[in-house]
Amino acid sequence: MSTTAPATPPASTPTPRRSRRRRLDASLIVGIALVGVIIIGAVLVASVGRNFFSAGNIRDILTGMSVLGFVAIGQTLVILCASLDLSVPYVVSLSSLIAADLMAGNPANIPVAVLVVLVVAALIGLANGLIVTKLRVNGFIATLGTGLIIKGYLDTNYKGTSGEVPWEFQLIGATGIGPVPVSTLIMLAIAVAGAFFLARTRTGSHMFAVGGNEQVARLSGIRTARPVLVAHMLCSITAALAGLLLASRLGVGSPTVGTQGGYALLSIAAVVLGGTLLLGGRGSIWGTIGGVAIFAVVDNVMSVMQVNPFLKDVVRGVVIVAAVAVYTARITERRRPRFTSTGETDAAGGGITGGGPGAGSAGQGTPAVVQEEQA
């Protein structure tokens, strides 16, 4: 913009600086929060005479991360598309049952069982996606519905645990490399794949577009249904992976394992905790992993300290609300002040030339008063 009037030169300097800050922001804050939680946790654990950083405890935390991690990775994709998936806990349970039933204790059945589980999950995801994109049913309601349908099926056909998982498959949930469980490694690999998918494929890019502004995406020639369909399918598949992992740990399939874990709302909470906008269009897989890690650390500290399980939920609730309140404060932070309280020109703040009041009208859906660029 240096091409215009004499007033603009100050604007050219803040622009790149601002943008660099912005990109660090979301994941940085999650990272800082995670480090903070770890420090507090370590101190608390030390106060009862235990070592937070012992191999055993690290393994416990990482183990606690993997199941929710799988679910939350998929949930991130769906939320980026401005949808939601409430059917994940039922997909988790169903997957554990299908896997355990088909394996029936025989290691030779493992590949077929895993394949069937993934296909079934993909079909459920496809159904979710089609309901959302073709019938235009809000994702919340659509997946609430499909979730209830699966729940009904589970409740009628299974009275309790079922099937048997062979020892070979149980190893996945039980072994580790040093203090790092294999399941966590698989989860992190999926996270890498997911992050790569978002950054480097067209469909991944288009998820941000569809979630950010469907109209814009459509007018840019994007087939807007496709990213949403893919996101829902991938979400069900990651939920199925979580189900497989749980089957591996339990040795059997269980119709209630998903709902007991509270994976629907917990995964959404982890995604939001990780800085992804619930409205879609902005967020990252790594933020979500950070969110999952925060939950895992908080849970672990409370277990070690033998906190009353009901109080656990209170703490979780506080963490979620506090985190979102912090983000909201960041988002609604007003334009950076130009003047200090005494009326001096704030040298650091400089010009608000970049991103004047009109910027809010630029299709962001936020009122102009709630500028967040300088947050």
Binding site: T3, R338, G351, G358, A362
Partner: protein
Amino acid sequence: MSAAPVDPIDATAARGDAIAEPVLVAEGLEKSFFGVSVLHGVGLTLRSGEVHGLVGENGAGKSTFMKILAGVYERDAGTITLGGTQVDFSHPVQAAQAGLATVFQEFNLLPDRTVAQNVFLGREPRKRGLVDRTAMVRETRALLDELGIEGVDADAPVRTLTVAEQQIVEIVKALSVDARVIQMDEPTAALADHEVELLYAIVRRLAARGVAILYVSHRLKEIFDLCDTITVLKDGALVSSGPASELDTDELVRRMVGRPISAYFPEVEEGTVLGEPRLELRGAGNGYVDDVDLELRAGEIVGVAGLQGSGRTELVEALFGIAPFTRGEMLLDGQSVRMTSPRQAVQAGLALITEDRKSQGLALNQSVADNALLVIRSVFSRRTGAVHRELPGVLSSLEVASRGVDQEVQYLSGGNQQKVVLAKWLATKPRVVLLDEPTRGIDVGAKVAVYHLMRRLAKEGVAILMISSELPEVIGMSDRIVVMHDGRASAELPARSDEATILSAATGTLRIGGEEAR
């Protein structure tokens, strides 16, 4: 402009044999929605290298016409010929691929994605099946350089750009498809005056490259500044299409509205008395504005000029208690007040017509009545019944064209939406009215209605503060002009000051009272 050499990037520029060569011919376009004809038999011819102005009041069919060309709407009848072949687009992307790109009035950008990601949205370059981010950034930079734009980082999220820069990104997006024809729908609607100059330069540069430009704007000055040819639409029909040199503003306005508007800006109404100071500021400031002295008297219209980001909106937001003053003094009818919330401001008799009517002025999916009663219901609930009864009368006196008070405001034109906003605030019987860009994006007829309303309010003793980026409006309507620069009121100028004086104060090159306003 930093004079980067202009070299046509492609061979499409049919410049040599151009001038007379039509690149786009539309004939007899018809369109109706739900049985209501909005376009009948409209056509025009676009030649390469030509800037073609398309004007008409809101509802005249300009947007519909553009959207049919762009493939957003299907036409009911008529033909479109692009580069000699008849075309039939069913999607804007199809049109863009054929060389007809459109910069829509609403920004079609994703604020959280980078400039490059936005420019290549939907057709990201790929290498081995993966998005080639380096190529995307490189090509975006090349396009920006070509337009002589500096300071826009291809890798920066769009949300960090100014409105003008976002507009440039839209144009770059259109350019990136090697367009032979670019349609621009109100490209300056959100720009301040000095930013408009940059857009002019870009438009001229494109035209010089042989691109044909169809330019829609409500700002007639721009039409005359830029356009070689002007096509006028009225009520969905073609009024005239011919060289700009054959028209002047009066004649153009006459053709657009079907009646001459000799007095575009109404004179002060008879019987208007300049009364006591209604609103005073003494050295007031907060984080966004500083050291503002202001006196607003009953019956007076004070215009606030200034560049985008100079603190104009921040000033009215402070007055209205959105970001309260932290220093200095604010007096209302001589009484010192501390305005700390909009509710308090409303109760004290202030009204704020915000600049962004869609996100701040209206609940778009609610009815005309719900919107018009919004403030009354929430602040003066006892008066709701009476105001509700009077509403139809108020709306018709404002000439709001709606299907009734139950219609959702999102289906009204911009001008009518703005009138609903005004009705909402008039119902509170305000003593001080703060208007932030009151005529942005509304048609000539509605503008004049707003101007008359302002004069009428002044006559009734209301004090009016009007922010505007359109200097003719500031000059035409203000009894006094305050110019903001860098968060401070850099100058106070008398009525009818000339544009040059206002601009030099706004850019800080005018010295006032010995203090340099930078």
